[in-house]
Amino acid sequence: MVKSSSLRTILLSPRGGISAIVLLVVMICAVFAPLIAPYAYDIQSLRDANLNPSWKNWMGTDEFGRDLLSRMIYGARTSLSVALTAISISVAIGMSLGATAAYFGGAFDRLVTAAVDLTWSFPEILIALILIAIIGPGLNSTMIAISIAYLAQFTRLTRVQIMALKSETYVEATRSLGAGHAHIIFRHLLPNALTPVIVAGMLATGDAIILEATLGFFGLGAQPPTPSWGAMMSSGTAQIFIAPWIIIFPGLAIAITVIAINLFGDAVIDVLDIRRQLRDS
């Protein structure tokens, strides 16, 4: 898919380079949280609740006297892993669904298309809230809910790609050589349709981070003491007058991360010149 020369072009462009650095920093925080965080995320010290940012606690402390910077770093881990896992699941299922629907056509295709059309324009937040009501609150439920909320998008995108590829001669040729359906779909069609879907998935990861935060705001995501940026903002709402930084820092973290994802995605789109494919779906 992305050739190394393209990658170099992306990284050398100003927005691609800067956003890549930002994303790298966030990912390092997420992966190496226990090594980077100055304190444990769950050790309470009620005497030190709601402290202003200081040298000791760079971002201050929360309502339980926990170091906010440490929770932000661990929060990156939760928020990113939820968003990435959810979107990966969504992309995987969406691609298989979209590809099979497009490849086989007929009633199955019509069914998938109808379902996709309907849920695609349904607010993701409502889909997620209803799903969590069914399966109960928690991190795993959040992941499942988010992945289902975005399923339509990837199914649709893949389907359009495959539809275009299906009629090309090499598919016919492979088919006449006696290749099975699975072989054609997974070895020949999907790899060619992969790039736009992966890029769309990357962009959707940004939206998924925001959706996770919103679910966290409603208290449905990560359960205490696990920090996620959304859950941190949820408890920060009640403290907004005495300790506004509790809600401001996670909000900024989300904004910066999502902007970086968007810019990087834009750079990729421009370099690979796949904007039309993404939009037409």
Partner: protein
């Protein structure tokens, strides 16, 4: 009163039932019209039906009068009854009714109303309040006599409950299921003009009001002409509305807002004794809490003092029993009080065979002491629960928190074996709440502790049905309470105070609040500046 208790038991979601408002023209600036914000816990209360309702909101006492009301000093004052007496054996009660009282629909209030009204409770959830009354007889147009099945020392307390607001028989029968939704007719100082559940209730003055108790200065119609009661789910939003002048009064303010409110100029906070207790329900029917030692360890691991000091700035009280401290039944043998004692907690766990492991969570025969800790959505719940989690961890009990909405958690409780520990709150100023939460017949919900025990049942039965006088009732309930404390079926945490806040610039509040809550007897005296 019980409505908040029921609110916690049965409410729809506290978090997601967003406070809603209709697009009505702004009326805040007009004379003698005030906007109040209902307690967040009352948001979404579906009806103003005092007989069938399980959740009644703070406006209920403005629409319906009761026979009697209770003052802060526990004394009873007549509202629709002017006097009452009971026979020496406690088996009859005679009430004289207030003359010339009319319902909002013009129907007269008299002895016939009472005869119609009391039997309506049969078969409803609120039936236990009138359970002891065998029959009601009309002595004359304004006198009724209750004949009792057994003496009920709690009679007047029950009569003073919000659920004892008397509706107009005609409207009640006419509206049927819809009474309290599309209309609500009582004799109270305000008439229901409109009610949109989850959004707002508009009340207008009852110009013919003449049944104020001697607790109110104002004996005629209320000073305020119109009250709009908004429902706002998020406490911070309500607070900002008061701060910016969008509303005149918040009927309830969370304790952790007090430091901020007291620094607001022009805002006055009034604090009344609390009727709530936060506690952890312990499911005694599932491992590891079938072992009384583990329950003991759990109960004594909770640091009430730390929670009071750091989460609530010292406002309120530590809870060491199940009942609010003002009740005589809460004065138990000091040896039975449950107060933070980490050494006792660790010792109990050691004795039960749970050994500390390197990760800070105890284990026994390969099983970790890791349990479910449930809580409900809402800031105070979550804050208390997170601290409880840390405190339990300190003695080696690991917990996994899940915050549920109210309907889901109730459904889960009813399964009886899904829950282990649950942080809860109730609001009720009478010892009979023990029966509510620990009677074997209610195991699952609301007996979340799943406590079914012959000794306790006998003590409960004696307290509920076998008390002839108030003193006897106190002694019996105290014995039942001590029995429950000795079995560690729950762990007490915190007893908040009630706070309400108003704008001094816009509202004149009477010097003292009459009664155990801010209700009609005080609100009729409130004036807009």
């Amino acid at each position: 009163m019980r409505y908040t208790a029921k609110a916690m038991l049965l409410s729809g979601s506290a978090l997601l039932s967003a406070g809603l408002l209709s697009l009505a023209p702004s009326a805040s600036a007009m004379a003698q019209e005030a906007i109040f914000v209902m307690p967040a816990r009352d948001v979404g209360a579906p009806s103003y039906n005092p007989i069938l309702g399980t959740r009644l909101n703070a406006a209920t006492t403005l629409i319906f009068d009761r026979m009697v009301i209770q003052d802060a000093d526990q004394s009873f004052h007549g509202q629709l009854a002017t006097s009452w007496e009971t026979s020496a054996d406690g088996l009859t009660w005679t009430f004289k009714l207030r003359p010339n009282v009319k319902f909002h629909d013009g129907e007269p209030f008299n002895a016939a109303t009472i005869v119609w009204w009391l039997p309506k409770f049969l078969g409803t959830e609120n039936a236990f309040m009138t359970d002891a009354i065998d029959k009601v007889d009309v002595i004359d147009n304004l006198t009724v006599k209750f004949t009792m099945k057994n003496p009920d020392p709690n009679m007047l307390f029950n009569m003073a409950s919000s659920f004892m607001g008397i509706p107009s028989p005609k409207s009640f029968d006419q509206l049927g299921d819809k009474f309290g939704v599309t209309g609500a007719v009582g004799t109270g100082p305000f008439k229901l003009e409109s009610f949109v559940v989850g959004q707002q209730t508009v009340l207008v003055r009852n110009e013919a009001y003449n049944s104020a108790s001697d607790l109110s200065v104002n004996q005629g119609p209320a000073k305020l002409k119109k009250i709009t009661l908004r429902e706002i789910a998020e406490d911070s939003t309500a607070f900002l509305e008061l701060k910016t002048g969008g509303v005149d009064m918040l009927l309830s303010v969370p304790t952790d807002f007090l430091p901020r409110l007291s620094s607001e100029k022009g805002t006055k906070v009034v604090t009344l004794p609390g009727t709530e207790v936060y506690y952890v329900a312990i499911n005694t029917s599932v491992e590891p809490f079938t072992d009384i030692k583990v329950r003991e360890a759990m109960a004594f691991a909770i640091n009430q003092k730390e929670i009071l000091a750091s989460l609530f700035g010292g406002v309120g009280e530590e809870a060491h029993t199940f009942l609010i401290s003002g009740l005589a039944e809460a004065k138990v043998d000091p040896k039975l009080l449950i107060a933070y004692d980490p050494a006792r907690s660790r010792k109990a766990l050691d004795e039960a065979g749970w050994v500390m492991s390197s990760d800070g969570v105890r284990a026994k025969a390969g099983t970790r002491l890791q349990v479910k800790l449930w809580t409900q959505s809402g800031t105070e719940f979550k804050r208390i629960t997170e601290v409880v989690q840390a405190q339990l961890k300190a003695v080696g009990i690991g917990t996994d928190i899940t915050a549920f909405d109210a309907a889901t958690i109730t459904a889960q409780y009813r399964k009886k074996t899904e829950h282990q520990l649950a942080v809860r709150v109730y609001s009720w100023a009478n010892a009979d709440i023990l029966d509510w939460f620990f009677a074997g017949k209610r195991a699952g919900h609301p007996n979340h502790s799943m406590w079914v025990n012959a000794t306790s049942e006998a003590l409960n039965e004696k307290a509920m049905k076998g008390s002839r006088t108030w003193d006897e009732r106190v002694a019996n309930f105290r014995a039942y309470h001590e029995n429950l404390l000795s079995q560690f079926v729950f762990a007490p945490i915190y007893q908040p105070v009630q706070n309400f806040a108003y704008s001094q610039a816009r509202i004149t509040m009477p010097a003292t609040v009459r009664g155990t809550r801010l209700q009609s007897q005080t609100i009729v005296d409130i004036e807009k500046k």
